[in-house]
């Protein structure tokens, strides 16, 4: 009797296989291109409904590919997020939590695995974070045959004419586009981009200013007019358009060199941007607009395009790529292959699935934005001492106590997100945003008597956040309305999920090793 059942089961199985053609997404020996576009807000993409035609090329490409509009990064800073993507590990698991930290060698890198399987790795970096500030370049560049930066201001790191050099061998290209990153407005780009969205008659606060992090409200949010805000946004959009055109040319160039048919192309942004949503600009926190960007996966073996609404995480990119080229995924990877998880969707057309119900992001302090607790043991360490002084001067005794309490560990803000809700945990809330910016600019600013100076040369802002924040992303995507304390069942569940994830994060092998000799001279080829 048993045997008969097995027999019938086999028959049904055979039938099922014949009827449903499982998409063959494997593309072993396909080339791989990973394009990391810095600072793209999801809601400024045309395909997501933005009112301006900022991204026609990205939009078209998304429509022809597997598009993940709910792509969430695991960090808010460029190299930290990128390191998280290349290792498929949360920053707290791979050790690279700030610009000048050491990556845990047990966190296997995508480029190294690809090298083992005969890929020739080339990196063309346009974001300053990948060639100047910090230890990312030293720890990642050895895995590449060529690791090259652009020296042109507002230039792109790879010329379209160079694409023909890649037709002979199997390659992995990592292209980082840094033009959208502040300073906003790509002033050295062709004039049409500079002028594209800006009001010619603008004469406000930021006229003739370089819109960098010292000029726009960054850590401190101060009041600016809506015109001023729009002016910044218009400049931001210029950068977006400029980069989108480049991406369009790149894709065209790949087509002309007959590389599209055997190349997997992944486009993502390693973080978004605040554009005045909380009175601030640039990217310093794990707000929705900073961690929600976009992900496009184009696999020549998968002809049918699809939009998948389920969340994707940055840590899923490495497993997805390796899965598609049929290379074993390292055990150290904490993400999962999005293609494998999405197969049901790709077959049956269902767009909202059960994986990645929760996405997690970390905001771990690092020097010059937050006191670096680990590195500031002892009274003479600069950031802490200064901060202590300032807190004492402003009689912030509670904040001072909190600072002392964190002496033996990092504190961090972490968030858990679903497509409907976002919960952010903010411990030691009284010392949120205690920051120390050493800018000689401030001195200059004083001299010129500008009203928006950061004065004195460091700034303390002690916020009174509650320990958690809860936002309803469907009604309030810009997170203006903190609902914590008013949705008990949602909060309890999300806190439980967040704690569970906190426990499970694998970081015991990691030492947050801080390299204080920051600006190492790296010779570029």
């Amino acid at each position: 009797m048993n045997n008969r059942i097995i027999f019938v089961a086999c028959l049904i199985f055979v039938l099922l296989i014949l009827v449903f053609e499982k998409p063959n997404y494997k593309c072993a020996n396909c080339n791989i291109i990973l394009i990391s576009v810095d600072s793209v807000r999801y809601d400024h993409l045309g395909i997501n409904g933005y009112s301006r035609n900022t991204t026609p090329n990205i939009d078209n490409f998304a429509r022809d590919s597997i598009f993940f509009p709910n792509y969430i990064t695991q960090a808010y800073l460029t190299p930290i997020s990128e390191a998280s993507i290349h290792t498929s590990r949360y920053p707290s698991s791979n050790g690279f939590v700030g610009f000048i930290y050491y990556l845990d060698p047990q966190s296997t890198k995508l480029e190294d695995v690809l090298k083992y399987y005969g890929y020739n790795n080339y990196a063309f970096v346009g974001s300053g974070n990948f060639f100047g500030d910090g230890t990312f370049v030293n720890q990642f560049s050895p895995s590449y045959k060529v690791y090259r930066r652009t020296y042109e201001s507002d230039g792109f790191p790879l010329n379209i004419s160079e694409l023909k050099n890649f037709t002979k061998e199997k390659f992995f290209l990592w292209i980082s586009i840094g033009n959208i990153h502040w300073p906003y407005g790509v002033p050295n780009a062709p004039q049409k981009y500079v002028d594209m969205f800006v009001d010619k008659n603008y004469s406000g606060l930021f006229k003739n200013q370089t819109l960098d992090g010292e000029v726009v409200p960054r850590i401190k949010g101060w009041d600016i007019t809506s015109n001023d805000r729009q002016y910044i946004i218009d400049n931001y959009d210029s950068g977006l358009k400029y980069s989108d055109d480049y991406i369009g040319e790149l894709l065209q160039g790949l087509k002309e060199n007959d590389l599209i048919k055997n190349t997997i192309i992944v486009i993502q942004s390693e973080h978004g941007e605040e554009l005045g949503d909380h009175g601030r600009f640039t990217h310093n926190d794990i707000w929705e607009n900073t961690i929600h960007t976009f992900l496009i996966i184009n696999n020549p073996a998968l002809k049918d395009s699809k939009t998948i609404l389920t969340q994707a995480q940055g840590i899923d990119i490495m497993p997805t790529i390796l899965d598609m080229v049929d290379i074993p995924i390292p055990e150290s990877a904490q993400g999962k292959s999005l293609i494998s998880l999405s197969l049901i969707s790709l077959i049956f057309g269902k767009a909202d699935l059960d994986f990645n119900k929760y996405a997690f992001t970390e905001r771990i302090p690092y020097p010059s934005f937050f006191p670096d607790i680990i590195n500031t043991r002892g009274e003479n360490a600069i950031p802490i001492k200064v901060v202590y002084d300032v807190l004492s001067r402003y009689n912030q005794t509670d904040a001072l106590q909190d600072l002392k309490n964190t002496n033996n560990s990092f504190y961090e803000h972490i968030s858990v997100r679903t497509n409907d809700w976002k919960l952010i945990e903010r411990p030691y809330q009284r010392i949120n945003d205690v920051s120390q910016l050493i800018y000689t600019y401030s001195k200059k600013c004083e001299e010129e008597n500008k009203t928006y100076c950061i004065y004195p040369n460091f700034f303390v802002r002690v916020q009174n956040y509650s320990s958690y924040q809860l936002f309803n992303l469907k009604n309030d995507p810009n997170e203006q309305n903190d609902l914590y304390g008013r949705n008990l069942s949602i909060e309890t569940e999300l806190i439980r999920i967040l704690n569970q994830w906190k426990e499970s994060r694998d970081s015991s092998g990691v030492q947050y090793i801080f390299n204080s000799s920051v600006f190492v001279n790296y010779t570029f080829n």
Binding site: N3, F7, C10, L11, V14, L15, L18, V19, E21, P105, Q106, V113, K115, Y116, Y117, G118, P328, I329, P330, E331, S332, D506, S508, G509
Partner: protein, 473 residues
């Protein structure tokens, strides 16, 4: 797809499937072996390297009795032990679990707070079921005659045994255990029994009462006399310094010392088999002969065992005699000695419950015994006396990757890769040249560690965990 084509293919597949299915089923039914109610004996030659055994290719006639026994049995050419020393291995045999799973990895486990009590399977892994327990549940009388030390009962080896002899204390050989076994057999011939016979004869700490030097076939003028004290000193020196300094003659001398011990053990074994024949037990007893591990004789610049995962320590002899088994003479597949336990159940046609099925990491060797290629990836590990922590994988096609998690304070994650087909003596570390294979094997090993509910995080304590009486003082 065209409907007609689907239907056609379906019909064809049904036909093919039916034919193969019934054919396969019929064939299998006829060939199913069973030795229900057969006795079972496991004979353990402790510390005997397979390359010193005649039938494994040793040019010197050290093991005529074992060779003879093997010629009528099934010889496993490529059996790998899950550990390179005694303490973890017999527990692995009796549970078919890896040392990291059963957790008896050193004589004194690291308890918190630190206390000096002998590691015990019951304390460390209370859910583990042993071979003897299951045999007993099935009506067998279970007896063990051992040479003590790493085979000591208190560690958990005696769980499920009606009788378990591990006295006198020390490193005792077949000369102690076999007479007791024979005696018991004579007085209990009507009982269905499972017997474990163990001897330390070949071990470095087994004291040769009279070293005849009959295998020293050259004029040795070196500094050694062949005493267990000298052997202990060399062992400790190797651990402390990473190497010992021996001349070619020294090594030859020590091997001759080893050969004599093996030869003595073999004679005792021969005697035992003869007794079994006399008692008429051979045709109703399954006999498995194996070693728990080998012994290094300077293959990697040291002596003794436990301290590495090289082949001289983990490639062990394995011979299986099953009455009336219609099988091959030599099974070449790579197998693990963890396979002993499921094989015994399979040969006896003894069903086991799901807990035991899940517990057993080995596989039944019956198909290998019939000549099928069952080569698979096998794993081995050691935390020998907290001198070292190593984990290894050997793939079915002969690639070996070894990860040394820690070996001295500061040493972390040292990796080795060997192509055993081209480099059987493991001299040529390919870790920097075969990057792809190194990567794949490392991932497999990490996955295995995860499946054993361990990770590479550690902490990997380097310290002193005593095994011999004079240690860690």
């Amino acid at each position: 797809m065209n409907f007609k084509i689907i239907l056609g293919l379906l019909a064809l597949m049904t036909l093919i499937f039916t034919v193969f299915y019934f054919d396969f089923y019929q064939n299998n039914k006829n060939k199913q072996y069973s030795c229900e109610n057969c006795n079972v004996i496991i004979v353990a030659f402790d510390a005997m390297q397979s390359s010193h055994v005649g039938t494994y290719g040793y040019p010197i006639n050290t093991t005529p009795n074992l060779d003879d026994f093997a010629s009528n049995s099934i010889l496993f050419k490529n059996a790998i032990s899950p550990a390179p020393w005694t303490v973890p291995t017999y527990i692995s045999w009796f549970t078919s679990m890896y040392p990291s799973e059963h957790r008896v990895v050193n004589k004194f486990s690291v308890y918190d707070p630190p206390i000096t009590i002998v590691a015990n399977l019951r304390n460390l892994t209370p859910t583990a079921v042993t071979l003897a327990e299951i045999m007993k549940q099935n009506g067998y009388t279970t007896v063990g005659f051992t040479g003590d030390a790493g085979a000591r009962g208190v560690q958990g080896n005696s769980i499920g045994f009606d009788i378990y002899v591990d006295t006198p204390a020390g490193f005792n050989g077949f000369d102690s255990s076999i007479p007791l076994a024979i005696d018991w057999l004579k007085n209990n011939s009507e009982k269905k029994f499972f017997m474990f016979i163990h001897g330390y004869d070949s071990h470095g700490q087994y004291n040769l009462k009279n070293f005849t030097k009959r295998f020293v076939d050259f004029n040795y003028t070196g500094r050694f006399n062949g005493t267990i004290q000298e052997q202990a000193q060399l062992r400790e020196e190797g651990l402390a310094n990473g190497v010992v300094n021996l001349t070619v003659d020294d090594v030859r001398f020590w091997r001759a010392w080893y050969d004599e011990k093996i030869n003595d053990a073999d004679a005792r074994f021969g005697n035992f088999i003869n007794e079994l024949k006399k008692e008429g037990l051979l045709n109703k007893t399954i006999i498995i002969v194996a070693s728990d591990h080998g012994t290094e004789f300077y293959e990697h610049n040291r002596l003794d065992h436990g301290h590495t995962l090289y082949q001289e320590l983990i490639h062990v002899p394995l011979v299986v005699w099953a009455p009336n088994f219609n099988g091959v003479k030599i099974a070449a597949s790579q197998v693990s000695t963890l396979d002993m336990m499921p094989t015994i159940f399979d040969l006896l046609n003894m069903p086991v419950n799901e807990t035991v099925e899940t517990q057993m990491k080995g596989q039944s060797l019956i198909s290998a015994m019939k000549g099928e290629n069952v080569s698979r990836d096998v794993y081995s590990e050691t935390d020998y006396r907290l001198f070292t922590h190593k984990r290894a994988i050997i793939t079915a096609d002969g690639w070996k990757f070894v990860l040394t998690l820690a070996e001295a304070p500061g040493t972390k994650n040292v990796k080795e890769l060997y192509n055993l087909n081209l480099d059987p003596t493991e001299k040529n570390n390919l870790i920097n040249s075969e990057l792809r294979i190194a990567y794949e094997l490392e991932q497999k090993l990490l996955k295995h560690l995860m499946e054993m509910k361990t990770s590479i995080e550690g902490p990997w304590i380097i310290g002193c965990s005593a095994v011999y009486a004079d240690q860690c003082t």
